[in-house]
Subunit: 605 residues, 2 copies
């Protein structure tokens, strides 16, 4: 295990100097908080992560969750995560005072989740899912249900889950078949199977509150007939005591990674004795779920960003300690009588580390930016401003889910490669990060689904307004960066790539206008990569501008090496990553159609 | 587990119709073999793999090799692999009659290894390493040593290993410190530790023949003072009986994947009682090792090609059986009353499958081509021809090690993604392929080392002669392809990319001429990717030309779908993969230097 799993300086720098948390704290809704109180809170989370999460990171993998006799056995540290985490407010922090929360900004929520995920990406899943479920309750359930369930969820006494996926339907939520029949007492009789339920059962919570998607008898087909229910593992009786609600734990999926975070298979209503309570109105379940989905998707991106940061720190430490080989001298020979160089002196190792750095820190920047938008959507008083932030948030949500997940996998694999053969062994932690991060392109809508969302929904919404707003934000960054001679060439590059983006979108839009949506979206994944790279270049330019400003000012809050590293990393991103948009634009504008099935073609596999 | 783990038709097609095994069989050295006898042999290997390897693939992972009380415990199927495999000739096949072999071409050896690796990439490692060690004995040991060791290695009775890596030196073989002191009886007293010794010990072989790199007392520093020894686990006494040679098994590295293939830590001479015997001349050990390295590197590429093929078959089967979601209709909506489509009908799933196909089949093509060159180097009578094939082989060896390993990892990850959440669970096999293939960019010289080899040694050897020869081969393919109208645009594209390659090399060569080797090689990894993509495009064009020829001829050996799929896959490769060379050339010709350490720079991490 490496000494360091994240870099608090970079987190703080992004929070205050790049993404201006202060302007969020200035909103009336957050009036009780300031920079100091936030920092004290984050420091306490760091301390908790140092003591209760990071030391157990290897153990939760090796002592994976498993199913036995109708129960899920998890690592005992899950108890600490729920209890102590709950006490500290890791679930409650972002909820309103009214709902029993601390009314902190989402940017702070993202930061605390990030610290914990970097320390141990298995355990905070239990509180994270409970938070997500509690948000649905807080926003859409009636007061009676809220009073019954919310306090115990926010305190971490009861776990919460999201029950969406069914075995036969996978990502296709329109094919959900779980059923709900209204009973005389106003509850619903629930029946159905749900799989891949993260944190779905274990011995350290007295109760689980399942937020459950199902169809009320007679509801319309497809997504418009899906309702949301609270289905507790144990229902609450009049006297407050709990009675089993016939939610059967049928198994725990064994997985490639995140093995300490159980993934259950639940059966509801096998004995016709599972009751559920409707949340909000009938047939609006999916809508509710999706209204909370932006937050869930930011959380996935945050987790992936955290893993790539932790892996970066581990491979950086190794590269700084491990002597091996020698730098080439001017004759292209190695001086064998010299003592070996540290591997961090080799150009290729530096390239792999820099790649990790730009992915890890860039991903964090993106999650903080989208969290900022979410905070402003929630609290800014001017409606036009709110709408603007909302469009930006909607546009970037598929990216924040996808970029850290996809490129995080690449970054971690480079981290493993830095260690050579040792990286492949369980003596080092990189192999665990490699396994853990692989779920992120699948969680909460696969990369394929996010890419369709981006291209088919987000880019086109309000006639492309969101893209226009984003372009305006970028232009502002370009102008600011251009004040510094060192940054000007990069500002120019970004502007050129924005023009390329415009060109690609115009090319694709033709198919959308012709109604050929299959063609329009056929390369949506490549568009996602293309678009993300340009957005990430923008974020890196912003980070470099902030650092350059502090360098010029002579600000000594951080070291010169720290500031210079941000400028250098920006340059690396532009050279090695942004440049991919050249080829991606070629592919996206190619006239050749090779992935759409044509009935007449005789092409085998 | 999928029904199919490889595609025999594609293997045969590549062997005969693309890479002309017949012309190799026509060499006098292989006079005893013909197409039929080869096919019978390969069919018997397929049958063996079906029955003895594939059914145990999950088990060897779940019941991983481990260390206990000085012993390595492996899956009992290792015994079958060594004994039955040995009997069938999987070790002996490529050796000369003189050495007790079957004198089959390396193309056949590659094919049989490929079939076995696709079925189960853990078990054939035991025979594969024995084969590699036996090759060193056969080529460089004196007759006495050969007589003592070779027969039992070729029959699979004794295991063989390569003992190169030491804990402190890693890839840097010049820092090897294991020592050898000449004794009165002509043997050497051996002392040292070796790690990452694949197949280094287990209960199913009476003896292990370690091919061991060490320094004879007083030898020069660096790589020029390294000698090769045979150091058996048990030495052979006058009467033929075995006595323990003080080779201590100190541990077994636990790994991310290939867990059924043990990776041992061996200690030699702890009680000053380990004897070794010099192979060939003193101080030439590394040279010998590298003379056998081409074969070893082809074998690594072959293994990676096999895993990506097996993963492709598994995800293809899933995609053809799993209904989920619906194709978009012309309004961009999904018809929810329609029954779900098979996921293979979605464009993005087809893209992921086609990516797997081009990587898997293209990698196989590259391993067969390099095996062909190796066979011709060995058997062709004309010296000029031999030299030509040798240069081509030398040039492509770093590629055959690297491309299947790196892109195989990407392909397998796409395969896992096809299965969505199921892909991440141990119920499906993709997660095992994902773990197994991750070692391949590390094995036998990491990607970084292969890339340096390509750019600093191979491209420059004999003033670029090898690249010239390769270009001539490509031009011939381009001319043949241009005979077909359908293929002409691709032939033209390849020609353009060859010009781009020329341009990139001229740009880089300036630094080499200035003696700035660090700069010349700083982006060697990107050059590897760039160069490989062009070579793979060539191989795909060849495959498409062969298929087109058969289609036009009306050859019914394979189905039209089979032929069309090769042409289609070629087009896919050109659109989605070859296009990457545009951006890679941009990066390679950029003037910006960001990965070379400069003492004066204040850049932190």
């Amino acid at each position: 295990m490496a000494k360091k799993y994240m870099d608090m300086d970079t987190l703080k720098y992004l929070l205050y100097n790049v993404h201006d948390l202060q302007s969020v704290l200035d909103q009336e809704y957050y009036a009780d908080h300031d920079k100091d109180s936030v920092q004290i809170f984050l420091d306490s989370i760091k301390d908790f992560s140092d003591k209760e999460l990071y030391p157990y990171f290897k153990e939760v993998d090796e002592q994976a969750a498993y199913y036995e006799d109708g129960k899920i056995i998890v690592h005992p540290q899950v108890k600490v995560m729920m209890e102590k985490g709950g006490e500290m407010g890791v679930i409650a922090s972002m909820f309103s005072y009214e709902d029993g929360g601390m009314q902190l900004p989402g940017m702070v929520g993202t930061s605390l989740g990030y610290i914990m995920d970097a320390a141990n990406n298995h355990l905070p899943g239990y509180t994270g899912l409970t938070l997500g479920a509690a948000e649905l309750v807080a926003h859409f359930a009636n007061d009676e249900l809220k009073a019954k369930y919310l306090p115990k969820m926010l305190s971490g006494e009861w776990g919460g889950t999201m029950c969406l996926t069914e075995p036969q339907a996978g990502s296709s939520l329109s094919d959900i078949t779980a059923s709900a029949v209204l009973q005389e007492d106003g509850s619903y009789k629930i029946k159905g199977q749900k799989i891949f339920i993260s944190g779905g059962d274990h011995e350290y919570s007295d109760n689980f509150v399942h937020l459950f998607l199902g169809r009320i008898e007679g509801a319309p087909a497809g997504t418009k007939g899906i309702s949301l229910f609270i289905v507790p593992k144990n229902r609450i009786q009049e006297d407050g005591s709990l009675v089993y609600n016939n939610v059967i734990t049928a198994g725990d999926f064994q997985k490639l990674g995140q093995r300490g975070y159980c993934t259950t298979h639940l059966i509801f209503g096998e004995n016709d004795d599972t009751k559920g309570w409707l949340v909000g109105e009938a047939n609006k379940g999916l809508k509710y779920m999706f209204m909370m989905m932006n937050g869930a998707r930011i959380a996935v991106g945050r987790g992936a960003a955290a893993i790539s940061m932790a892996a970066y720190q581990a491979s950086l430490q190794y590269a700084q300690e491990r002597p091996q080989g020698r730098r080439l001298n001017s004759t292209g020979k190695k001086e064998i009588n010299q003592k070996p160089s540290l591997i961090i002196e080799h150009a290729d190792v530096r390239r792999m580390l820099l790649l990790q750095k730009v992915v890890a820190e860039g991903s964090l920047s993106l999650t903080l930016l989208t969290s900022r938008y979410a905070d402003l959507v929630k609290t800014v008083k001017d409606k036009n401003e709110r709408d603007r932030y909302n469009l930006l948030l909607e546009l970037l949500t598929p990216l924040v889910k996808t970029y850290p997940s996809e490129m995080g996998g690449v970054a971690v694999s480079n981290g493993l490669q830095v260690l050579g053969g040792y990286g492949y062994t369980t003596e080092f932690i990189l192999q665990q990060y490699h396994r853990d991060i692989r779920i992120f392109p699948i969680y909460e809508g696969t990369t394929g689904i996010q890419s369709l969302d981006l291209l088919a929904r987000k880019v086109t919404m309000q006639n492309g307004k969101a893209v226009e707003l984003l372009a305006a934000e970028m232009m502002q960054s370009i102008q600011t960066a251009a004040n510094y001679e060192e940054l000007r060439p990069y500002a120019t590059q970004l502007e050129e790539r924005m023009k390329l983006m415009q060109k690609v979108m115009m090319h694709l839009m033709v198919f959308a206008k012709q109604g050929d949506y299959e063609r329009y979206t056929a390369d949506a994944n490549l568009f996602m990569e293309f678009f993300s790279n340009i957005v990430m270049a923008w974020l890196w330019l912003d980070m470099a501008t902030a650092a350059k400003t502090d360098l010029v000012k002579g600000d000594k809050t951080y070291t010169d090496e720290f500031y210079e590293s941000k400028v250098h990393a920006m340059k690396f991103f532009f050279k090695y990553e942004l440049s991919k948009t050249t080829y991606l634009s070629e592919v996206l504008m190619s006239d050749e159609v090779l992935t759409i099935k044509k009935e007449e073609q005789k092409v085998g596999w």
